[in-house]
Structure formats: C-alpha cells, structure tokens
Symmetry: none
C-alpha cells in the first residue's frame, strides 16, 4: 500500500492558502556553553509566541534517526518527498546552488581546476586555489571550444567560486551515478569516469561522454599555470521527481534569496518569485503575489548560517528579525501556516545535525497545545509528536481541509 | 531502500567511547498499589539526576506496540537488530542461558525429562520435578552413549536446573524451526519432530536427526523412575546474524554476570569481559578494559529480578545500587552514555511487559530536555520521543559523530 496514493485518492480542493516558512537550521540544543538555553528560548519572539498560544507543535525527523541531512534531503522532506526514495546527487545540488536550470535527465558534475605534472599526476587538487576571475576565464575557454559531444550531447560549463565549476551534460539516454574522475588525493593520475553499475547502458553512455569531454578539454589547458587540469565528482543525473502541483493539487511558489533553495523548489516544479533581499522583502513579495498561488515556500537562511558559525547571539538575532517581519505574512491571514527548519544546525555542533527540528502549525483547526512559546522543549510535548518531516505537507493539507474521509 | 545500508554508507570512525548500561526490566508503572510512583521515581538517584540535567530522554518500543519481548528480542533491539527480522528460537536462548557456545547453524532444543507409561503415554511432563543432580546423572548417561548420529552430526547434551536440559545438534545442512517433540499436555504420546516447512531439505534433515536421537536415547532410559522419557521444544538453529563490529564499525565488549546476556552478546560477536559479581565490579572491569574497545554493553540484572517478583522496594534499592556505582563509569568520561532497559518489568505485572522503557542519552551534543530526573514520566516529554529500540544504536552513533552528512 503506497501511502501517497491513499492521500492522492482523498485529495480535495484547498480551503484558503498554505504557507511554509523555513527557518533554515532552526533546531538547536540546550548545552552548558550557552547557559542551557536554545536560541529559540533565548530570543524575544512576540509574534511566534502569539502563534504558539493558538497553535500546535511537534518535532520532525528529517530523514531517519541519527541521520544528518544536507539541504537537498532536508527540503525534499519538507516538500513531502521521502529523501531516501528521491535522492539527488551532489553534482545536481551544486548546479542548483549556482542557479543553473536543470532538466530531468541532465547529468551534472561538481568540478574544480587542479594542477597536473608532466606525467598527468595531480600535484595540487585545487590549483593553488585560483581566483574566481581566473576560473571564469578558464570556463569561457572550455565553453567556447566545447558545446557539443559527438552523440549530440550538449555541454554547459558554469564557473563557481575560486577553483570550482559545474559541468552539465544535456542529452538523451544518460543516467548517473558515475564514479569520480578524481583520485581524491594528490600524487595520482585522474581516474577515468566509469559507470557505478557497468550493466547500465545509460550509465555507460554518460561515463563515455565524460571521458570524451576530458579528451577534448584537457588539451585546451596544456601549458596553463597553475590550472592545467580538472577533477569531476558527484556525477549524477537530475532525477524525475513528481511535480508538486500534481502530487498535492496545490499551485506552489518559492520565495528564497539563495540559489540553492530556489533550485530545490524548482526540482519539484515550484514557480519562483524573485527579487527579495531580506526576510521582510520576501514576505512582502509573498503578500504581493498572494492571489496567484495556493502554497508558498518561504526560505530564511540566516538561522542556519549563524548556527554553522556557532554564533549563538547572531542566531538569536536572526530569529528575532524573522519574528519582527512575520506580521507582513500574518496580515494576509493564511489558512494554514507552518514554521519550522529543514533540519537543526545547533551552535554546539557548528553544522547540520540529526536532532529533530521543532515545528509550529497554525490553522483554525490546529488546536492549541497549552504551550506559551515555540521552543524545542515545548515542541517535545506538542500534539504533533515527533514525526517524519515528509508528513508535514500532509498535516498542512489536512488543516486546509484537503482530505476527504477515509472509509465510511 | 534498506535503511541499514544507508547508515553503513555514512559511517565514520567514532569520536570517543560509547557505553550502554542496560538495567534489565527497568521500565515500570505508577499504580495505586505503590502510591502511584514508579521505582525510578521513588529511588534516590543523585548520579542519574545529574545525567538527566544534561541529557536527553525518550521511551523505546522494544518490538512493536503491545508486544512483550523476551530477553532475546529485547537485547537484539538494543544492539540495533530488528527483533522481527532476526528471530532467535527458544532452544537457542535456552542454550545461551546455560552458557553454551553455539556456532552458526547449530540446532538447539529445550528439553526436559518426563514420565511415560508402558504405552509411551506422557503421564508427568516434568517427571515429578526431579532434582538437578538426577538430571545431571541422566544427561551423563545419554552423553556417554550418544556423541554422534549416523550422518556425523555431533550431539551435545547439557543439564540445566531440575528436570531441564538442552540438546545441541552440530552438523552440516540443518535448519530450524522443527515442530515440538512434546504433546504439550499429559495423556498423549510424544509426537515425532517434523519440519515446519516440509519442502525444506535442511529442516527435514534436522527433524530426521532428532528422530534418530530419540530412537537411540529412549531405550537408555527404560525402567528408570520417574524419568524414563524426555520432551523437546523450541527446536531452532542459531541464525546467522551480521557481526556487530562489521555492522557498526565499533569494537564491542560485553560485561554481564548471567550467562544468558553473555550469550546474546556473543550472538552478535561481542567480546566478553568476565569475572564481575556485582554492578560495581562490572563497571570496574569496564574501566580496566576501557582502552581495548569502542563500545561497552553493561548488563544489570537485579531490576528485572525484583520486578518479576513484584518486589517494589527491592527494585528501588537495585536502582539505587546502580546509581551509587555509576561514578566508576562516569570517571572514564564516555563520549556517549545510554542508560535504559531491554524492556519493562513492572512490579504490578510481576513479569516482562510491552510498556516502552525509558532511555537516558548523554553526550556533549545530546542537549538537555529541561528535565531534572530520569523517570518514565519525564521520558515521555523528552526530545528523543517514543521510538523503536533498534534505533538506539543509531542515536548513540550519531552522538559519537559517526555519521557523515546524507546528501548535499
């Protein structure tokens, strides 16, 4: 029994608008170092408090117990896609992070320039960390000479920061994953890209195209210093993911500032509303386009950024900034509002973690859990319990009265 | 998608040592009979309190809602093996309980002497509950005459307490389960052991060997009173279980006093550290061998024993004894410490039960749940929630920073 098909079979038209505010990396830990308080506990959050006094809380397992997600699995879960079923390769995530538009079936690779000696041995995996403008120049050089491979596959080369770039192969009949064209340490030659499953014709075709690309590209870099070679890793195809709108019967929009999150939304077919530079501007854009969509995904990056830096005070302040901007959204009176993270980024970890992120869910029929603030501890005893993040969209749909009764 | 293979693919070397303290049958119930307090609530536990004031709590479902586990499934769950997938037959558990060393593929049966009349009808299933020394004498009699069967299968007979003994068949190509050679009531003949799945050659071979054993053994008992026959039940093979060390990349040690728990640890390949006679001695042994292993399983029996007896005060005292000994372990500063039971043994039940056992998990990144003591009620609102016991090891590994990020 596929539970998604059960939900689909029960789906009705939404009552009102649904909004998901993702405070990236929101969840945190109470540890001695920060006075046994979490940033949510330490922050002054009058608007979140007001929502907590009318709403329900819980905590969400992003993937599975103990598993720390990257941004890709974290967001796919929030969008209702099981991150273990819909895995997105690193090359694809990297391309999304550069704001590149991928199509289903595109092969994407993370690449970086490196230094080779006369025997083809990698002597510096990062080519002395060349400046971004040098990387851009080298990418232009490659792009101008190589646009297509012999089987008609299109090659798209896009520079990133420093020595990093991305290569996309757009053609028919290719699939990942492909082994790295990267020895992963210095002192060895670049290994040829190979299919992970040699019996797969689609992987073999993709690997052959990558080899052909190497044969065409390496001669163009001969004599360059320090970047006379390049490595490719995380070579994967953009998976076919069921479209959000078809899956949930909700017309979705994404409002984000960073390309990675726009890219992840685009993976599931969300429309992008562009132009914001702050959370207040994001929420104003949301209000402006309120009538055009049923579901809004609004991404707030700062909580994650400061968690990664282990900067407790800055994370507190980021939460307060979001809280202060919230009335712009609340004035539109969403039928269902969910506020959560895509995972935890505890200051004590200074990185993503597996600790279930707290979630606050408000609707006229969410009920109140008797809790006065939205915090990790309160969320532990909320009515939503601790559940897998991929069910959040189902809670949101249920609160928008989108599910018919199951059985008589 | 096999979740265990996902964990394996992300596994890194552990940061520091992991310790699991199992207070057997720890969980209990607040009922009128005992003043609506549980033993954990009634006990004076300064060391557990201190751990609670820095740690996270939750409750664990040993197998599935409402299912009461035996010691086998209870411990396999704690070791991270789904007890529904890895089922260990009663014969195997009984053999482990006698301290017998089993090999993968061994067939083990619980057996007991009985009384038969001249027509072979069972008249007393326990042969008048003969004394242990009589049982030992009869086992010697059988062992001295029957060491091998016709196909070369070795027979190992080992006496237990009273009328009970265990028979192990060690040979090639055999598998359980085999139907009981036991009518399960008096007034009937002993049925022949048969393969549960008659199409299984391995089960058929095992059943035939058990029949041959009966043909050789029963004549040796003719004329004995009151034990002139025997019954065999729970006939099963030792299953092949993936080794703990390979599965988790952790070198494990078991410190237990009772043979059953050493046997269960041995099933998954743990090394045994022997010689303790009290929980304090167990923890001292642990400290002494601290540098030799990554993971320590420390088993404490008394909580279960007193729960089985419905002896509330003795269970409280057992908890206090463990609490007093804890500093021996805490002084070694384990990176990750989990304290829990393998199941609940509530005094009001006077036996194992299905009620989720409380768990306390401490590490520098476990976070604090705002709870001042480790109790069943507090565990209900802990950040770990209520989860299947087989995920405890994954929480422990995550807290030891043993998992790489999933996805980019």
């Amino acid at each position: 029994m596929n539970i998604d098909s059960v939900y689909s079979g029960l789906t009705l038209a939404p009552k009102g608008k649904l909004a998901l505010v993702v405070m990236d990396g929101l969840g945190d830990l109470a540890v001695a170092q920060y006075g046994f308080k979490t940033p949510l506990e330490a922050a002054r959050t009058p608007n979140l408090d007001q929502l907590a006094r009318q709403g329900s809380q819980g905590r969400m397992i992003p993937v599975a117990p103990g598993i720390t997600p990257g941004s890709g699995p974290g967001h796919l879960g929030l969008f209702g896609y099981d991150p273990l079923e819909f895995q997105v390769g690193r090359g694809v995530i990297e391309a999304l992070g550069l704001g590149l538009e991928l199509k289903a079936g595109d092969i994407a690779a993370r690449a970086n320039f490196c230094t080779l000696d006369e025997d083809g041995i990698v002597t510096d995996r990062r080519a002395g960390r060349i400046e971004t403008d040098v990387c851009e120049e080298l990418c232009s050089l490659l792009s101008s000479s190589i646009q297509f491979l012999e089987d008609g596959t299109q090659v798209i080369i896009s520079p990133g920061k420093g020595h990093r770039f991305v290569v996309i192969f757009r053609g028919l009949g290719m699939e990942g994953p492909i082994s790295d064209a990267d020895p992963n340490r210095e002192g060895k030659k670049i290994p040829a890209a190979s299919p992970i499953d040699p019996s797969s014709a689609a992987q073999t075709k993709a690997a052959n195209n990558i080899r052909e690309f190497y044969q065409k590209a390496l001669p163009l870099l001969v004599g360059r210093q320090p970047a006379n070679g390049f490595l490719m890793r995380g070579i994967a195809h953009q998976p076919a993911i069921p479209l959000f709108q078809e899956r949930y019967t909700l017309k979705p929009a994404c409002i984000a500032i960073y390309p990675m999150y726009k890219g992840l939304a685009q993976l599931v077919g969300m429309s992008k509303i562009e132009g914001a530079h702050s959370i207040a501007e994001e929420l104003e854009l949301c209000a402006k386009h309120w009538d055009e969509f049923d579901y809004f995904f609004i991404h707030f990056k700062d909580t994650d950024m400061h968690g990664e830096d282990g900067n407790f005070d800055a994370k507190v302040k980021a939460i307060e900034t979001l809280d202060a901007a919230l009335p712009i959204l609340l004035n539109k009176n969403p039928e269902v509002l969910a506020i959560t993270g895509d995972h935890s980024t505890p200051c004590a970890v200074a990185g993503h973690s597996w600790h279930p992120q707290p979630v606050l869910l408000n609707s006229p029929i969410s009920g109140w859990d008797g809790l006065d603030r939205f915090t990790e501890k309160n969320a532990n005893s909320g009515s939503l319990g601790i559940f897998e993040a991929r069910y959040l969209i189902r809670h949101m749909q249920a609160n928008a009265k989108m599910f018919d009764k199951f059985g008589a």
